[in-house]
């Protein structure tokens, strides 16, 4: 095994990368997928109502509203701009606080308060914002609440927004495109164009070829997964746990790519393999989107064992101590894949010679 030869092949693939569509697709996909989720479906997936506030005086309400969890607040200066944004559904509602509002309220004058509602806003968002506005007014007025409402969350997944549930899908996409597709495609391309034959009559061995492809896929998968999490605001406060979880994901993805790449004789059979088996790769993602489904089924799929730590660390703020078991299972699965890859790699080499 020569590290120098591995690096030479890696350097060649990195140099050829910008000239390869699959390579470029790997770099673009995390951005495209996140944009698709955020821009095209942004308002659908955003769980929080959006309230715009114009404070023409110095109301306590404009300060207090920003402290409320679950509402996205935008402070604006111009009432006309506020109305425009509400009308365009950039905001679900807009509140204009006139000058001297708090003083008039405390003096018992019952000043008028305008709350503009977007015609396209969800009914639930309108109700939330209207009740919130009333509650804030009551606080400034100084009147006590009639009851103390206690929020009790039922069901494990109830507190998560759809956008958070989509994070496993987005991260898995980044890992699969770079780790699985890029790795397998570059290998099959070398085979199909017979450049692999030329490589294997030099001192380069099949193991070194597979390793170089694996390193390429691993680096890009890891980088793209980090970028995806950053784009979705899900970079955890536990960087070591997150990095280990992503590394576990990148390693397994690359191994799946090598399994595909060594098993497929050409691009056509690679696509057939991908179409047949990718359901198994992506299956665990469905269980994050539908938390009411029996979650134990997700554990039957290998990719669950790295997706779960990524999800727990990136979304739920878990630390290494809470995800070590899943990481250990993921590592065990990755180790178990190695002999299969070696056998398939040798079979591929024999097929190359016999072709």
């Amino acid at each position: 095994m020569s590290l120098s030869r591995v690096l030479n092949v890696l350097r060649k693939d990195l140099r050829l990368g910008p000239r390869s569509p699959i390579f470029l697709w790997t770099l673009v996909l995390p951005f495209a997928a996140t944009l698709l989720m955020q821009v095209v479906f942004g308002s659908l997936l955003d769980p929080n109502p959006r309230l715009g506030v114009v404070d023409l005086g110095d109301s306590e309400i404009s300060r207090d509203v920003q402290a409320i969890e679950g509402i996205r607040v935008a402070l604006l200066d111009d009432p006309a701009e506020l109305k425009e944004q509400v009308e365009a559904h950039d905001l679900d509602a807009g509140l204009i606080l006139p000058a001297g509002f708090d003083e008039a309220l405390r003096a018992g004058e019952k000043p008028p308060l305008e709350l503009y509602i977007s015609g396209q806003s969800a009914r639930s968002d309108r109700a939330i914002l209207a009740v919130t506005a009333l509650d804030l007014v009551r606080q400034v007025e100084g009147s006590a609440s009639l009851v103390d409402v206690q929020l009790v969350s039922l069901g494990e997944g109830e507190a998560l927004a759809i956008s958070e549930r989509l994070i496993p899908l987005l991260v898995l996409l980044a890992l699969v495109i770079a780790g699985v597709f890029l790795t397998s495609f570059t290998l099959v391309e070398e085979r199909e164009r017979h450049t692999l034959d030329a490589l294997l009559v030099t001192p380069l061995t099949i193991t070194e070829v597979l390793l170089s492809k694996a390193v390429l896929g691993l680096l890009l998968a890891l980088a793209m997964a980090v970028v995806t999490l950053a784009l979705n605001g899900a970079l955890s406060a536990a960087p070591v746990a997150l990095l280990l979880s992503l590394l576990a994901g990148a390693v397994m993805s690359v191994e799946i790519g090598l399994l595909y790449g060594t098993a497929a004789r050409d691009t056509k059979s690679l696509y057939t393999l991908v179409k047949s088996l990718n359901l198994l790769v992506f299956a665990p993602v469905i269980f994050y989107l539908f938390p009411d489904w029996p979650q134990w089924i997700a554990k039957l799929f290998p990719t669950y064992w790295f997706l779960e730590p990524i999800f727990e660390v990136a979304v739920n703020g878990a630390g290494l101590s809470e995800v070590w078991f899943e990481l250990l299972v993921s590592l065990a699965l990755s180790v178990a894949f190695i002999p299969v890859i070696i056998v398939l790699g040798r079979r591929m080499q024999a097929q190359l010679g016999a072709a």
């Binding site: 030479n8 060649k12 050829l16 490589l199």
Partner: protein, 294 residues
């Protein structure tokens, strides 16, 4: 048959093959062949498609493991010492397997690095194959002949002691073919052993010190082209003369006791041409195997 490998040849041979057999499942592609190639020698491997030429090269270059027999390159066993053997050989494939998205220069540099030559300068090689001015262009813009010349250049990046050239001039324009033939001669003159497979009998005759006829996995004959022609060809000449304004042809066997008399008689007439009628390699091949080369 002159294919036997003597003990002295084995010690000196760059390529030494003994009773080599390879089979694809039940199909025996190489059937107990033995031969050797000395340093500086060009051995032409002649045979039709499916005769076993490429399979033999694949075994000798470590792409396939033989079922039985031994294959040694520069004294090392190909199967056991594959990395060491591959470091000292150059292989030119029939398939043009270059990196099309890389330039000619990048292709050569990349392969040189795989041979542990990080400071390799590709320009002299590019100049040698007539690609000096196109070295920076991507290979996908090269013509067939240019690609083949680059293939040959790639074969030479590690200054190999043994060259395996699989149909290196097949379908090329005359200029590219001549460039490659010149390089083969130069490499042999440098001391490299060359195993050359080709369909082209003229090329084999021109380049090879010895030729091996391979058919159905076996070597049917192995000798110098001259010896093969003498052994299997007919010793006769064709004499063309003009008699009373008409051209006449006469075949005179050199084994005929009256050959001298007949030649003198022809010379006394208006002699136009005398040609030897030795057999071509293709005719010998057909005679030995009962089939053509295509």
């Amino acid at each position: 048959m002159a294919a036997a490998t003597s003990a002295s040849e084995r010690t000196q041979a760059a390529i030494s093959v003994e009773d080599l057999t390879y089979a694809y499942g039940d199909l025996v592609a190489v059937d107990g062949i033995s031969f050797s190639v000395a340093p500086g020698e060009v051995l032409g491997f002649l045979g039709p498609n499916g005769a076993g030429k490429s399979t033999t090269i694949k075994v000798l270059t470590g792409q396939l493991s033989p079922r039985s027999g031994s294959a040694r390159i520069l004294g090392q066993d190909v199967g056991r010492d594959r990395p060491e053997v591959q470091a000292r050989i150059g292989v030119c494939f029939e398939e043009k397997n270059l990196y099309l998205n890389m330039s000619g220069r990048e292709n050569l540099r990349f392969f040189a690095r795989l041979f542990g030559m990080p400071r390799f300068d590709p320009d002299p090689l590019l100049l040698r194959v007539g690609l000096a001015d196109r070295g920076g262009d991507r290979v996908q813009g090269y013509s067939k002949g240019m690609r083949q010349r680059l293939m040959v250049a790639r074969t030479l990046v590690n200054h190999p002691d043994v060259l395996f050239l699989d149909e290196p001039t097949d379908g090329l324009d005359p200029v590219s073919a001549r460039t490659i033939r010149d390089i083969i001669r130069e490499e042999a003159a440098r001391g490299a052993a060359v195993l050359l497979t080709t369909h082209d009998m003229w090329e084999a005759d021109e380049l090879s010190d010895r030729v091996a006829f391979i058919n159905e996995g076996r070597i049917a004959a192995l000798d110098t082209p001259e010896n093969l022609k003498l052994q299997y060809g007919e010793r006769r000449v064709k004499v063309r003369t003009r008699v009373q304004g008409e051209i006449q042809e006469e075949l005179i066997s050199l084994d005929d006791p009256e050959a001298g008399e007949r030649l003198r008689a022809a010379a006394a007439k208006d002699l136009l041409t005398i040609h030897t009628e030795e057999a071509t390699l293709e005719q010998i091949f057909i005679r030995l195997t009962g089939r053509g080369l295509q």
